[in-house]
């Protein structure tokens, strides 16, 4: 690039305006700038000429091929870029200079096996791996308009399930590696960012990422001992490369819209529905009058009503800016980056903001000492009205909006929020616009990650790396509900302040010895590590505000203030060792052991030991395989190891007396403080233990054009921390004990390939994961129920999610719903005291009574398999990428539908309700009380009221396949961009959630309203819906 004679960068930028204004004129001229013939020869690493190499001008205007000796000739202007591509060789670029003859060496693709992967406490050549490790490269993430790293992992690695359980800005993502091992413990993978354990993916700027490695089998994860059972995600951030500094700027803008608007009744149809319900109340000779007159209905028909869904959702705009500078010299390299994300949510008054700054630095200070530091800070702020199933439903705008009567305007005649219609609708339902708009909610988090290291090369092959790191997290949440809100009115203003200060320190001292003796290669790693976490938090709850204007910002204005605080500490001291032994590049062995001493374990079990071992055979290095000339890699792997899960919280092994049991025992206005015994000590308590066996195969054929990885695994988790049920006469319900067991077995594979290379290239990859989880033991009880039924009002208050001993994980248990009794089945219906049009339940035991004995499995929340299919096409300067991902075989219990489809509901499906002339509907008829009384039937449907809707009527197939993302990009031809001092300029358009194929009737199949525990997964109630997003973006690097 020396041939540029333009002034320095700064002036170049100043000239931009002028340049862009005449761009249209200049481009054609540039394209025909003076060209000259050049020739060259393409060789491989051994110096032999490579035939059939496609040689293209980067702007795509010309192309040719090398001859049998590897020679080519082409016309090109100085400064233009030639792209050389050939099957089984890495792509190469050449900038045309003043010379007319060139020699280019292409690297064989098989050398990708020499790719170095990050593993726990070290790195390893991909070819030397004996465990199951998946890698996602930073540049793959970059092709998509990604704002969040966790979401970007979806569909990209086999065995890794990523689920966006809600669609809120900054919302929740659940990542599971090879299923869920634990019931009460956390099932999230350990996140390690640049060696610092316990990081947060959300706070990362995706552009800063160099690579993400996912450790899956025990051979890879056992090195993380008592934190490794759920897999490990290793994130490595970027450092600058030697050479000129690179400035990179990315802009992404998007607009999001509600993805799947529920189909609801219009005001006139709703009024008719209400009348129908009212007129049916004619029992005991009553003669009810319709609520709405014909004139009123006609008026609704004419003028329409309120579309509450439109009232609470909006098109939401997002902007995302990322700027980085990176570079380095022989001894120093650096990266500085900053990013700002400003995301609106589609629910009014919801948003997410993130500022992040990173500085990475590495320097060699002497031949044998180098040091480095990774510093990053992020500030996140999110606000949204509360949503999800755990929120008291009247106050949840997501639930209330589709349910609220369309016959009511948003504001009443004096401009106040309208209340629910007392006479015909659920009177507790709160105006959804008020519920969304009025609360002041702020959830703020600041993460500071500080990580520094010194690395000593002590002897040939012996290095010592001393790292010191800290993660400092500050949470600062507050909320205020005024009297226009459900919560606020009940408490005359309700405010909450929560502050949490969490500090984590980690010191790891890593000694690595690397040695080759003849055909033997050893790598020995020994680590001493100590970690310390301290948490201190405080809460203020204030209510009964004399002054609502200042609200939570001056809790002095509240008559009732309650405060709480708590503090905890956690210490983990660890020693670990690992040895890799490779003989003749064919036989690979790895063994590791880690000892973890943890303060949270019971006093009888302070130390845990986690061993692993694995072997691999690189068959492709054997002569008889080599001679086949098919495999560039063929490796068989087997591993076994034990990992743990520290599901215990600090002090959980001790007996507790807890505050908060206050009561006006004295009989005065101020309650007495009550302290209750809430648990008894268990000094034996220890980690959950997962023993995992893995057998895998890595294969690469056609010189790396097609790669295939397959793994089978079998994980048995024992010593699960479960509340061991105590007789409740002991005054305690349970004691935490290591009792349960769960098994996860599965297969996963990925196929990736490059069917086309050259001017038109296609890179494609498929990942497939099938996991089967089974509950082996629950410690003396046959099943454990998990509340996931919503907060009153839906008649599913009783539990329907269960873990059942001997059965698959995630069973839904309830009553079978077989539709509606048809007129032709009147006689059968009468046996149950039902009329045609009444619901038809499955009488499992045929005893003529529908009661708890007829409960059965009505669904399962875990998918049979999940998959992801990534594709990248490039043609000339265009690139097109898309990701299709999905899930098959999981059920969703759609609680949201219950109220919509019940009598007096708002679902458009009610128009298709059963009637004598519409026999095939699954929505029961409204049978008037007089008709029912006249029939003289006595119902034998004895489903308790609280379980009335715990039926398969609301269970749906949650399988889906979706075009998660599609992106079309265009790179400005280098020949042009370089004239403006721009190395690369890419513009793109992109769409997220464009097409979803599913039978699921709810808003989105990728949902879970209850995520506190994996066993609660699979129900949909009032969750922030997903959106369809369109992006435009720009990436410039200078």
């Amino acid at each position: 690039m020396q041939h540029f004679t333009h002034p320095p960068l700064k002036n170049g930028i100043l000239k931009w305006k002028v340049i862009t204004s005449i761009l249209l004129v200049v481009i054609p001229i540039l394209l025909f700038a003076q060209t000259k013939p050049i020739s060259g020869i393409v060789k491989d690493e051994n110096g032999n000429g490579v035939p059939y190499v496609t040689v293209t001008l980067k702007d795509g205007s010309l192309a040719t091929r090398t001859d049998s000796a590897g020679r080519f000739s082409i016309s090109a202007a100085p400064g233009s870029v030639l792209v050389l591509s050939a099957v089984s060789y890495e792509k190469s670029q050449l900038t045309v200079g003043s010379k007319s003859q060139y020699v280019i060496t292409l690297k064989s693709l098989t050398s990708q096996l020499g790719e170095v992967l990050v593993i726990g406490y070290g790195t390893q050549k991909k070819s030397d791996l004996t465990g199951s490790v998946s890698r996602v490269k930073g540049e793959d993430l970059k092709l998509l308009p990604t704002q969040r790293v966790d979401q970007a992992l979806q569909g990209r690695a086999p065995g890794v399930s990523v689920q966006n359980t809600d669609g809120s800005p900054g919302g929740n993502t659940v990542i599971r590696i090879r299923g869920s091992n634990s019931i009460n413990g956390d099932n999230s993978a350990l996140i390690v960012i640049d060696g610092l354990q316990g990081g947060n993916l959300n706070s990362l700027n995706p552009n800063d990422i160099s690579s993400i490695e996912i450790l899956k089998d025990a051979s890879a994860t056992a090195i993380y001992g008592s934190q490794g059972a759920n897999g490990v995600i290793l994130v490595t951030t970027k450092l600058g490369k030697q050479g000129k500094a690179v400035i990179n700027y990315t802009f992404d803008g998007s607009v999001a819209n509600l993805n799947n608007k529920p189909k609801l009744l219009n005001a006139a149809d709703y009024a008719r529905e209400i009348n129908k319900v009212r007129l049916a109340q004619n029992g005991n000779g009553a003669q009810p009058q319709p609520i709405f007159s014909d004139a009123e209905i006609a008026a609704f028909q004419q003028n329409g009503g309120t579309d509450w869904v439109d009232q609470v959702y909006r098109p939401a705009y997002t902007q995302n800016h990322q700027l980085s500078v990176s570079g380095g010299s022989e001894k120093v390299s650096y990266l500085l980056s900053g990013a700002y994300l400003n995301q609106e949510g589609i629910l009014i008054n919801s948003a997410y903001d993130r500022y992040s700054i990173r500085g990475n630095f590495r320097a060699e200070i002497a031949k044998w000492v180098s040091f480095g530091a990774n510093l990053s800070t992020s500030k996140e702020k999110s606000n949204s009205a509360l949503f999800g199933g755990s929120i008291n439903y009247p106050a949840n705008p997501v639930i209330a909006a589709p349910r609220f009567s369309p016959t009511i305007p948003v504001y009443d005649s004096v401009g106040n929020y309208s209340a629910a219609a007392l006479r015909y609708a659920n009177p507790t339902l709160w105006n959804p616009v008020a519920s969304a708009k009025e609360p002041i909610i702020n959830n703020g988090t600041i993460h500071n990650n500080i990580n520094a290291y010194l690395e000593f090369k002590l002897l040939e092959g012996l290095t010592l790396k001393i790292t010191g790191g800290a993660i400092l997290t500050n949470i600062d949440d507050y909320s205020f509900y005024n009297n226009k809100t459900f919560t606020g009115l009940a408490k005359n203003g309700s405010g909450n302040i929560f502050a949490d200060n969490n500090t984590y320190f980690q010191n790891s001292n890593i000694l690595t010895y690397d040695k080759t003796i003849n055909k033997s290669h050893f790598t020995i790693t020994a680590v001493a590590e100590q970690k310390y976490t301290k948490d201190f938090n405080s809460t203020i709850n204030a209510s009964d505000f004399a002054v609502q204007q200042t609200g939570v910002f001056d809790v002095g204005g509240a008559n009732t203030v309650t405060t709480a605080s708590s503090s905890s500490e956690r210490v983990i001291n660890s020693y670990l060792g690992r040895i890799n032994y490779i003989f003749d590049n064919k036989y690979l062995f790895t063994a590791s052991i880690r000892a973890d001493g943890s303060s949270v374990f019971g006093s009888d079990n302070k130390w845990g030991y986690f061993p692993s071992g694995s072997v691999a055979w690189r068959a492709s290095e054997e002569h008889f395989i080599k001679d086949l000339h098919i495999f560039s890699d063929l490796k068989f792997r087997v591993s076994y190891g034990v990992t743990g899960n520290q599901a215990i919280n600090p002090y959980q092994t001790l007996a507790h007396i807890s505050s908060g049991f206050n009561y006006p025992y004295d009989g005065t206005d101020v309650s007495n403080l009550g302290y209750s015994i809430t648990s008894t000590a268990n000094p034996k308590l220890k980690w959950e233990k997962t023993a995992q066996t893995d057998a895998g195969l890595d294969m690469s054929i056609f010189n790396g054009r097609l790669e295939f990885t397959f793994d089978y695994y079998n994980k048995l988790t024992t010593d699960l921390l479960l509340p061991r049920v105590l007789p409740s006469y002991s005054g305690l319900s349970s004691i935490l004990d290591n009792v349960g067991s769960i098994r996860n077995r599965g297969i996963e594979f990925s196929i990736s390939g490059n069917p086309f290379v050259g001017k038109f290239s296609w890179n494609t990859g498929l990942t497939f994961s099938a996991n089967r989880a089974k509950v082996i033991d629950l410690g003396g009880v046959d099943r454990i129920g998990f509340a996931s039924g919503g907060f009153g009002g839906q008649s599913v208050n009783s539990v329907f999610m269960y873990l059942v001993k001997g059965q698959p994980y995630g069973e839904m248990i309830g009553y079978g719903y077989k539709g509606v009794w048809k007129t032709s089945e009147a006689a059968d219906a009468a046996k149950y005291g039902q009329l045609p049009g009444d619901p038809h339940y499955d009488d499992l035991n045929g005893d003529g009574i529908i009661n708890s004995k007829d409960e059965k499995v009505i669904g399962n929340s875990t998918p049979k398999f999940i998959f992801g299919w990534t594709n990248k096409f490039t043609y000339s300067n265009f690139d097109l990428s898309f990701l299709i991902q999905g899930s098959k075989g999981n059920s969703i219990f759609d609680i949201s539908r219950i109220a919509l489809e019940s009598p007096g509901g708002t679902s458009a499906d009610l128009l298709n309700r059963w009637s004598p002339s519409n026999q095939n509907s699954s929505i029961p008829a409204i049978i008037d009380q007089a008709t029912r009384a006249a029939s003289g039937l006595v119902s034998t449907v004895k489903i308790p009221g609280s379980s009335a809707n715990r039926t398969s009527r609301w269970v749906e197939d949650g399988s889906y396949a979706r075009l998660k993302n599609i992106t079309l990009g265009y790179n400005l031809p280098a020949a042009i961009s370089q004239r403006f001092h721009v190395n690369n300029l890419r513009v793109y358009v992109s769409a997220t959630n464009l097409i979803t194929i599913t039978k699921y009737k709810g808003s989105d199949p990728e949902v879970s309203s209850y995520t506190g525990n994996d066993a609660q997964f699979g129900s949909d109630f009032g969750t922030y819906p997903q959106s369809k997003i369109f992006n435009v973006g720009l990436n410039v690097s200078l």
């Binding site: 109340q281 005991n284 044998w368 000492v369 507790t428 000593f456 002590l458 010592l464 009115l489 009940a490 408490k491 005359n492 010191n507 001292n509 590590e529 100590q530 310390y532 009732t560 605080s565 503090s567 500490e569 210490v571 001291n573 001493g597 303060s599 374990f601 302070k606 600090p650 092994t653 001790l654 507790h656 007396i657 807890s658 049991f661 206050n662 009561y663 006006p664 025992y665 004295d666 009989g667 005065t668 309650s671 007495n672 403080l673 009550g674 302290y675 209750s676 015994i677 008894t680 000590a681 049920v725 105590l726 007789p727 409740s728 006469y729 305690l732 319900s733 003396g780 004895k942 308790p944």
Partner: protein
């Protein structure tokens, strides 16, 4: 860069050694700062009281205990929506709440026996009296709901390894009598205004009278206890420490929350609201406690009915509104704004003077075989007030000319009306063994003799093989 020469290879090796030795400078033993363990608690008067406070909180606070699970008693004939279809695990929450309360009470009693440093004997006696009173009350609820239950006093056995069997109903009552008797000896006769919610001697006597009365009836059926019940209740009446609130419509007002009629209750205040007030006012059954229309229609027309039951919504009678039920007005006497906003403070009576009068009337009549003048006077005080101190043919006064059975019926009926929705009717139906005959026709389909006891919680049956289940579950 010169300075870097300080790092020689030798110092490098020293570093390794130091680091490995320095590792684990933090200890693995936990020393919690924000957690209290039983070893360092129950050493002061306040801490003992905090255990009692917690025991009551477990039984009466929002979403806890009777505040949340009162609708379990809808199998009676007062509360709407029962069906006598008593399922497995019915009432388990109340069982658990009582035993959690007992764990705290027993632990406090044990600590009291060891003595408190620097606390005078009078105060220790009062605290001990409260502990015994609370323990007796908890067992009295348990034995009536579940029958014979595991009897735990003081030391709670190791919950993992020790299994317990159920004591007999008689054994549980023996403990109740012993505890109430001890409480009567130790509790003061009156309480100062700042301690008006604490139990008194007469509250203990009233509850002991109720316990004797229950022992005289089903399931023990030991009539010799009638006289004891009458004696206890008579002592409360004669001592005149408590009296009826003359105007029935102010009985449940905040002003009368603690006396002169209220003797001991589940207390509510602004910080500890009991149930959401909507459960009393909502006449559509979103709240759980509405009145059975048939029961409402049978209720004698009198000022008491107007004070206790709400039959209109915005001026329209509930049965003209379609799916509406009568509301429970007796617990709506808080300031209307507070009530509407769900901030109402309503206490739930456990023993009040009207109850004592009716206990006396019933026990005296049954002990003597005929209504005495004193028994007639006792019940008539309640009836007279219910009628607004006028003669009312819908609810006539009792007379000594009534037979024992007639008078007994009258008392039970009066209890039904006077103590409605106070978690009392169910126990009358049980102890008088009239569940089937008093049930609504709809419920009777599902009636069985096993309905007289609720099931022992499934959980306890599963983990403790020594526990026997009540018949029919």
């Amino acid at each position: 860069m010169r300075n870097l020469n300080l790092f020689t290879k030798k110092t490098g090796f020293q570093l390794v050694a130091i680091l490995i030795l320095l590792s684990s400078c933090k200890k693995l033993q936990e020393e919690p700062k924000s957690v209290i363990t039983p070893n360092n608690f129950y050493t002061t008067t306040t801490q003992i009281q905090s255990a009692y406070t917690a025991s009551m909180s477990l039984l009466w606070s929002r979403n806890q205990g009777y505040s949340a699970y009162m609708d379990d008693f809808n199998q009676d004939d007062q509360i709407v929506r029962g069906d006598l279809n008593i399922s497995e695990n019915y009432g388990a929450e109340l069982w658990a709440a009582h035993y959690s309360a007992l764990l705290n009470i027993n632990t406090a009693i044990k600590a009291l026996k060891k003595g408190l440093v620097g606390v005078d004997q009078g105060q220790i006696d009062d605290l001990m009296g409260q502990g015994k009173f609370l323990r007796a009350f908890n067992y009295f609820m348990l034995v009536r709901i579940f029958g014979g239950v595991p009897l735990i006093t003081e030391d709670t056995p190791d919950p993992v390894n020790v299994k317990m069997a159920r004591s007999t109903v008689q054994q549980v009552y023996d403990q109740i009598i012993s505890d109430f008797t001890d409480a009567i000896a130790k509790l003061p006769v009156t309480r100062s205004a700042d301690m008006r919610g604490l139990p008194t001697r007469d509250a203990a006597k009233g509850l002991l009278a109720k316990a004797y009365l229950t022992m005289a009836t089903f399931p023990l059926n030991k009539p010799e206890n009638y006289a004891k019940a009458a004696e206890m209740a008579g002592e409360v009446i004669d001592s005149a420490n408590y009296s009826l609130v003359p105007d029935i419509s102010t009985l449940f007002s905040v002003a009368n929350q603690y006396g002169p009629e209220m003797m001991w209750s589940f207390n509510s205040n602004a910080q500890n609201q009991g149930p959401d007030p909507r459960i009393w006012s909502d006449m559509r059954g979103f709240g759980d406690i509405c009145a059975e229309p048939t029961w409402e229609q049978a209720y004698p027309k009198q000022p008491r009915k107007d004070a206790f039951i709400e039959t209109t919504l915005n001026g329209v009678l509930y049965y003209d509104l379609g799916d509406y039920w009568p509301g429970v007005k007796k617990f709506q006497y808080d300031a209307p704004a507070d009530f509407a906003a769900g901030r109402s403070v309503v206490s739930m009576p456990i023993i009040r003077f009207a109850d004592v009068l009716l206990i006396f009337a019933e026990a005296d009549n049954m002990a003597k075989g005929a209504p005495s003048q004193k028994a007639v006077d006792a019940i008539n005080r309640v009836i007279d007030r219910a009628n607004g101190h006028v003669i009312n043919s819908e609810d006539p006064l009792a007379t000594t000319s009534m037979t024992m059975a007639e008078f007994d019926n009258k008392v039970i009926m009066e209890r039904d009306y006077e103590l409605c929705f106070e978690i009392d009717r169910w126990f009358d139906l049980i102890r008088k063994h009239i569940l089937k005959q008093e049930s609504l026709p709809d419920y009777q389909i599902n009636f069985s003799d096993n309905d007289y006891l609720w099931p022992i919680p499934t959980n306890d049956i599963q983990v403790d093989p020594l526990l026997t289940q009540n018949p029919g579950y």
